[in-house]
């Protein structure tokens, strides 16, 4: 099933090396991560090796190779967030979910990433859950905020 969807997606590209990152971005947007099967199919389409694809994909922090959780929580560690306690938030998320950044909880409820900057520095510290950005966050509000997501 997924191979058909991917085929259709790939047909929108020319198949040049330049298309590689946009293709990986489309795959991740659709399937949530880069699975081995999907990378294989993309490699055939681009006429390059799977290793080449993993070589490029692993360089960029955007790409993930494991299935994400139902909700994704990102803690901003930009400079403004750092001086206003971003690291403390990051630690608290890890403690609450019992995982470290880059991992997904065993019940797949959350995955947890740290990001370099969300660009909302004037309202630091900020976290993002799915598409929602929460500003002026504190350890205290963190738990009640996370509870909104099942």
């Amino acid at each position: 099933m997924s191979s058909k969807i991917l085929n259709k997606m790939l047909s929108g590209f020319e198949g040049k090396q330049e298309d590689l990152i946009p293709i990986l971005q489309s795959i991740q947007e659709k399937f949530g991560f880069l699975s081995e099967a999907n990378v294989k199919q993309a490699a055939r389409f681009l006429k390059i090796s799977e290793n080449q694809i993993f070589g490029v994909a692993s360089f960029y922090s955007q790409f993930r190779f494991t299935e994400p959780g139902r909700n994704s929580i990102k803690v901003c560690l930009g400079t403004a967030c750092h001086v206003r306690g971003g690291q403390i938030l990051s630690d608290a998320v890890g403690r609450d979910l019992e995982i470290t950044h880059g991992q997904t909880t065993t019940d797949k409820r959350f995955d947890f990433e740290r990001v370099a900057c969300l660009g909302c520095c004037a309202l630091a510290p900020v976290i993002q859950i799915n598409d929602d950005i929460y500003s002026k966050m504190s350890v205290i509000h963190l738990r009640e905020t996370m509870e909104k997501y099942e």
Binding site: V56, T79, D91, C120, A122, V139, I140
Partner: protein, 627 residues
């Protein structure tokens, strides 16, 4: 060009009808910062209130006008009355303001912060003009002139405010005169390095190559910087018009915008603006009958800070790992696919339409000799009035931080300029005029414009560790001075923040930092040690305190602080007990609590929640809360 005048007239009518409105107009700042502050729920409330009360009004979503600390910002313009602005609008407040304004015609001036346009007796009494507010008055808005004023998704709003006039003027002049105009204006690259824009363009124009490329660098990877995001979200056409002008000047028929995937709203607005441009004939074949063709492709970055570096950015567009190459050849000679390529920053491009519209002599009068024009900054950190600002080059740091930003709550300690490639400057530099040379002389850089203000609650060693940790992780790994050297720097700094530093470590940081600067391949490594070197120079006593006394005065380095209960302040309310994740705090209600330092993981939850300042860190009693 006749068509242009017709389109402009139509746009003007549309804009005028909004200003000479027959129904109330509600402006709401819904840029990313506004949304983070809750603007979308305010928008929902506005919609339901209008519906419930059966009121006809127009809602205009605008970008960020600058004072992010006041967001969400909502303005109301009643027919025949000035636009009045309200800050920190919650859904409840929005409802109150709407009902008062739209039903009773009462602007609730006491709740408002300012008005736009002309003052009207009895309506704007006692209210200041918005642009006379202390944060805005010292500013000069050139690049940001439309941000927060127009609907960024309406090309007509942009055109009615002289949009695309610069492009028309460029076509009348011809490419060589456009380059000459930019030379006369004295525009230097706003991405940070400050290289004269015209010179780069000239090299590219004169380089042989079948295809030339124009690239807009919207990667904005500096943590603590959001000027480019705000400009694209608030006025995307300004950046796009600049991109077309630049492409025309260098003779490129293909353009790219390389933008961070973390900026979804900016990407969506660019896409929409590009569609509008095509419809109006500002893109595609034979733009405005000039004989010039241009296509723009948006490339989303995939999360690599090093891709802000020109050659790495090009590698990334080509679908490779974003690793820098040694230069020369410079991209202007051999860039994307080996062809002459120009990469300009978002702000540089956003400035161009203004120069072409109002002329080089007008622009060169702004700023100071050798540093003409304005620069946008994101003014953040421990500052009262945080947000996006634009000032003429040459303004002092003191004026920016204290007059515009309102200063710090606690005594000022340092300002970090230029992101991870920049440095921390101490109070003795506050009277330094901000320009490319003066900041470089102080050991920092202008960078793309992040200004992070720090007060006494910020530990300078921790900040240096933070930046090095960042650059170390973002190093592409191609050259060893950067890959190995930054890692070593981080390890030393970590040791110092844990209280395990030795006095020799300071010399090691110094020599290693200088070696990395000299030996690295690209700008990332060449500037990575700056935060360490500047802090060692200007804040040496703080390093010494960490090393010799194992003491962190700012109570930030976690290994060097301990939280404790201040018995005379503790009321025994048990709030801290309820939030402590490790049961380190105990105590019956109404009695002074006990904090077990063995169990405490220093998560700060108790400190944040205590309403009585009854939790303190280390030997230093933190008297007031973080602002």
């Amino acid at each position: 060009m006749n068509d242009f005048q017709k389109m402009k007239n139509a746009a003007q009518r549309k804009w005028d009808s909004l200003r000479n409105n027959k129904i109330p107009v509600i402006f709401l700042g819904t840029a990313s910062c506004g949304r983070a502050a809750g603007a979308t729920t305010v928008l929902d409330t506005i919609r339901t209130t209008l519906k419930k009360r059966k009121i006809k009004a127009k809602i205009v979503e605008v970008g960020c006008i600058g004072p992010c600390y006041l967001e969400p910002l909502m303005d109301i313009q009643l027919p025949g009355k000035p636009r009045v602005s309200y800050s920190n609008v919650t859904p409840k407040l929005a409802k109150l303001i709407l009902e008062s304004n739209l039903i009773k015609g009462n602007p609730l001036s006491k709740l408002a912060i300012g008005y736009f346009g002309d003052s009207i007796d009895g309506f704007t009494d006692g209210l200041p003009r918005f642009f006379d507010l202390p944060m805005l008055k010292p500013q000069t808005r050139v690049v940001l002139r439309n941000c927060g004023i127009i609907d960024p998704e309406e090309i007509d709003h942009y055109m009615a405010n002289d949009g695309y006039q610069g492009l028309v003027n460029a076509f009348i002049k011809g490419p060589l005169d456009v380059i000459a105009e930019v030379e006369q204006a004295g525009l230097r690259g706003r991405g940070g390095a400050g290289f004269p824009t015209f010179r780069k363009w000239k090299i590219c124009r004169e380089s042989p190559g079948k295809q030339k490329y124009m690239i807009c660098n919207a990667d904005e990877g500096d943590p603590g910087a959001f000027m480019n995001r705000s400009l694209i979200e608030g006025d995307p056409h300004a950046v796009l018009e600049g991109l077309v002008i630049a492409a025309y000047a260098i003779g490129a028929t293909k353009a790219y915008i390389y933008i961070r995937a973390e900026y979804p709203l900016a990407i969506a607005r660019l896409k929409k603006a590009i569609r509008q441009m095509k419809k109006y004939g500002f893109l595609g074949a034979n733009i405005l009958d000039s004989g010039f063709d241009l296509d723009i492709t948006i490339k989303e970055g995939a999360g690599a800070f090093v891709c802000g570096e020109e050659t790495a950015l090009i590698a990334s567009i080509e679908g490779k790992r974003g690793m820098p190459k040694s230069r020369p050849p410079f991209p202007a000679v051999a860039g994307l696919h080996g062809m002459p390529t120009i990469i300009n920053n978002v702000e540089t491009l956003g400035t161009l339409p203004n120069i072409l519209r109002k002329g080089a002599s007008w622009y060169s009068q702004l700023g100071i000799q050798g540093n003409s024009g304005t620069k946008t900054f994101s003014l953040v950190g421990k500052i009262r009035r945080a947000g996006l600002i634009e000032v003429p080059l040459g303004m002092t740091l003191r004026k920016i931080i204290f007059d515009i930003g309102g200063g710090t709550l606690k005594p000022f300690k340092a300002v970090q300029t230029g992101g991870p490639s920049g440095g921390c400057l101490s109070g003795e530099f506050l009277d330094t005029p901000v320009n490319y040379e003066s900041l470089a002389a102080a050991g920092s850089i202008m960078g793309s414009g992040g200004l992070i203000v720090m007060d006494e609650d910020t530990c300078i060693v921790d900040v240096a560790r933070y930046f090095l940790d960042f650059t170390q992780r973002e190093s592409c790994g191609k050259c060893s001075p950067c890959r190995v050297g930054t890692r070593h720097l981080v390890e030393i700094l970590q040791r110092i923040t844990r209280g395990e530093g030795k006095i020799e470590d300071l010399d090691k940081l110094q020599t290693l930092g200088e070696t990395i600067k000299r030996g690295s391949l690209c700008g990332l490594g060449q500037t990575a040690p700056n935060p360490v070197l500047t802090t060692l120079k200007y804040f040496r006593s703080e390093y010494l305190m960490h090393v010799n006394e194992k003491h962190c005065e700012a109570a930030v380095c976690r290994a060097l602080i301990e939280y404790r209960v201040v018995p005379e302040n503790c009321t025994g309310c048990q709030l801290c007990v309820s939030v402590c994740p490790t049961e380190a705090i105990t105590g019956p209600r109404s009695e002074v609590h006990n904090l077990d330092p063995e169990k405490c993981i220093k998560c700060r939850a108790c400190y944040e929640i205590c309403r009585f300042d009854a939790i303190a860190g280390d030997a230093i009693i933190i008297k007031s809360k973080r602002g």
